[in-house]
Subunit: 454 residues, 2 copies
């Protein structure tokens, strides 16, 4: 077992841990980052296709209001481009493909009014949540005892309106609406500036993409941290003794004055702590499960749908995929359709083989785009729940009752251990922007603590 001594040890080289480390190094501290995987980037992971095009198997979009990400893009000299969204979208329901313009797959004014009032209601709730402490909301008890599925049933008045809201929930949270506390939904939308912003392509959560892959952010940060990063070191124990904290990886043990754990709460809960975590913190980590999402890319010679006036955006009532985006490279040198299966269907389909998922996906795409959709030249996919060191995505979510009783333990340091990770953010929680904000906040806590007289 190698040993090392430093000021601050960071557990996890995702965007949150790397941002914390960068901030602390800039402040003149000696930092070690201990990472379980053999790579940096956490839930961002870029991959090069056979044709040389780089695609993202994890996080891939950036919104205009994600200022930390955009600043880092500039600092690292990375390149982004607008997500393609010109043309008609398609809704495939009950085997019928319906082309539509605008946000809603219907001309029915009642449905449009219904969705509008639903978005306004959840938007008002989102705006009313105190993001630093959702459990202090005057209606916290009421909002945290109801699932979002029940909220939708009560607040949407049309069948299609309800269907669209139920459809949207796993697209944002990668869990079913039945698994979400209304308070958590309101918090999460609130962190992003509202449900319209989080779900929008242009101007919203899916506004732009990374020419060389979003993992370039993590690689760029890591390059600046050089020898401070130790890969292949899954942490099994964190020991607080006197004025030191010891983080024990597979073959390296790091002793420091402070530790930052930059993992999803459910994974942070699997580490053995000595002394053990206080009961409130431990109970929290039992109650913030990761969502389930399958990300699939179907590569074609060209983005053939564009010439037919289609944007590539598709909503389906099929299981594989449920939601489709045009994910072609900026120069359209090939065509890529990106499909998502999230929430309940992802739980059964994650047990299928890649070939089965590909076949099911191609069938669905052929119903939407015709026989050309069968001419797939390459298929790549990723199932984040399979990853031992993520165990789901996009983020940890709160079932009813968790925020109210345990929310206070989400960020509160325990002795010399501070908590980062996008789940602890208040600005775009669940996104890379949130990961960076959380990393900055945890680093600021540590700097403050180390400056203070003992």
């Amino acid at each position: 077992m190698g040993t090392q001594d430093c000021d601050v040890v960071v557990v996890g080289a995702g965007m949150s841990g790397l941002t914390a480390a960068r901030t602390l190094v800039d402040a003149g501290l000696k930092v070690a980052v201990v990472e379980a995987r053999d790579r940096v980037g956490g839930r961002t992971l870029s991959k090069t296709l056979s044709n040389g095009v780089v695609v993202d198997m994890g996080g891939q979009w950036v919104a205009p209001t994600q200022r930390r990400v955009l600043k880092l893009v500039e600092a690292l000299g990375l390149k982004t481009f607008k997500t393609f969204d010109r043309g008609l979208s398609v809704a495939l329901r009950n085997g019928v493909a319906h082309r539509y313009a605008g946000l809603l797959p219907t001309d029915d004014a009642d449905v449009a009014a219904d969705v509008e009032q639903g978005m306004a209601r959840i938007g008002e709730l989102a705006a009313s949540v105190p993001l630093e402490a959702p459990w202090t909301h005057p209606l916290a008890a009421q909002l945290d005892q109801m699932t979002y599925a029940e909220w939708i049933d009560r607040n949407l008045l049309t069948d299609l309106g309800r269907w669209l809201f139920r459809f949207q929930a796993p697209a944002v949270f990668s869990v079913d609406a039945s698994e979400l506390s209304v308070l958590h939904v309101a918090f999460y939308f609130g962190c992003a500036g509202g449900p319209d912003i989080i779900t929008a392509t242009s101007g919203g959560g899916q506004d732009s993409r990374f020419a060389g892959g979003m993992q370039g952010l993590a690689k760029g940060l890591a390059a600046g941290l050089k020898d401070a990063i130790h890969l292949g070191q899954p942490v099994d124990a964190i020991i607080q003794e006197g004025d030191r904290v010891v983080v024990r990886g597979a073959t390296l043990s790091v002793t420091a004055r402070r530790a930052i754990v930059a993992l999803p709460p459910t994974l942070a809960g699997r580490i053995r702590y000595a002394p053990p975590m206080p009961p409130l913190r431990d109970s929290l980590t039992q109650r913030m499960p990761m969502g389930t999402a399958l990300k699939m890319m179907f590569v074609y010679d060209t983005p053939f749908w564009r010439s037919e006036g289609l944007s590539g955006l598709v909503l389906t009532d099929c299981e594989v995929p449920q939601l489709v985006f045009d994910n072609s490279p900026e120069d359209a040198s090939c065509g890529i359709l990106l499909g998502f299966t999230e929430g309940i269907p992802a739980r059964s389909w994650m047990q299928a083989t890649p070939a089965e998922r590909q076949a099911a996906g191609v069938e669905t795409l052929a119903q939407v785009f015709g026989p050309r959709a069968r001419k797939v030249v390459e298929y790549v996919e990723h199932s984040w729940t399979d990853e031992e060191y993520s165990r789901g995505c996009y983020a940890g979510t709160m079932p009813p009752g968790a925020w109210r009783s345990f929310g206070k333990a989400l960020r509160e340091p325990v002795g010399k251990i501070h908590w980062a990770g996008t789940e602890t953010a208040t600005d775009w929680s669940g996104y890379v922007e949130g990961a960076m904000q959380a990393g900055e906040r945890a680093a600021a806590e540590v700097l403050e603590a180390l400056r203070a007289p003992a």
Copy 2:
């Protein structure tokens, strides 16, 4: 690191693991039981007061329908006696102590009818759940998207009826009604034969107690297993290689043909598995948090309330305690009031000191029983969420959506690893009876697997 080789290695020396081990030893197999603590018994723990009386800090009751427990009581020559329940109960609400006979703290016929129809409705649901596979219930999607709190709001018609149902939920589950899927509530009541049986004293879940403490069951089983039990061996990894499975404790590594993990799912999820758990199983262990309960005993020279015609049963709207039982020894050589704080108030009060809890408890008891309640001669308590190797009690519970997507992974073996623990039971799940049933079932699976040709 010591090593050992055997047929079956059992992780956890609670009642489930010990029952599995006993069954396998009886079948002629060589068994090793690996236990993290320095004691057996898991969530049963008996303690001797200064006056020599033995009390239970964990599980303590047995019901007439818990045939496995009763059979073991007989086999071990243990002694049980009926829980004291003669006399009037007391409801303390808004500072007013109201004495009452029967089940309900009111003479209001509307409330009685309301509670009766509520119990009948949840009882019917409970009877309709296929206990082996709750997710196959025809209404599973509907029942698993609603919290029990919402169900209560919709199905109880009177304020007091709602209050009583909200009160009952943490008394049974040690979480708030807002944290429970209706499908889980129906399953759990169904496993015990219905809500009336689970909540009853005489004839029900609290029917009888153990003269020498309920941990005597575990101690008795352990005595028969002798050298097979290895204490002080928290398991950090389980490795499946070829036809063997290796369980790695602190200083002992056991190799076997099969393993039985007899831990609550949330703790089983903290072990590192190689190969890693399949995604469905891992996702399940992220979604079955332990409840929160504080158990407090106030010891007096005599059970003075009995001479005033009181049973000692008290419901309060105070936080400490919420629910009180007469827990005096059979011979009434001293008086003991047992108080519970469960669910939401337990989360704040578990952060207080024992002295603060004692003081708050005495204040409440004095409101009910008068100044004599202040003459406490001994105070003992236990907070199960503090225990590193339980991290809550009485059992793991399912929030909305967990049964539906992940229930299948609760018992399904993964390679050579089988799952026991009361959470996997279908007969009194959550109770010692369920622990024993699950242990027997897991042992039967292993015997079947080892008999089968490879």
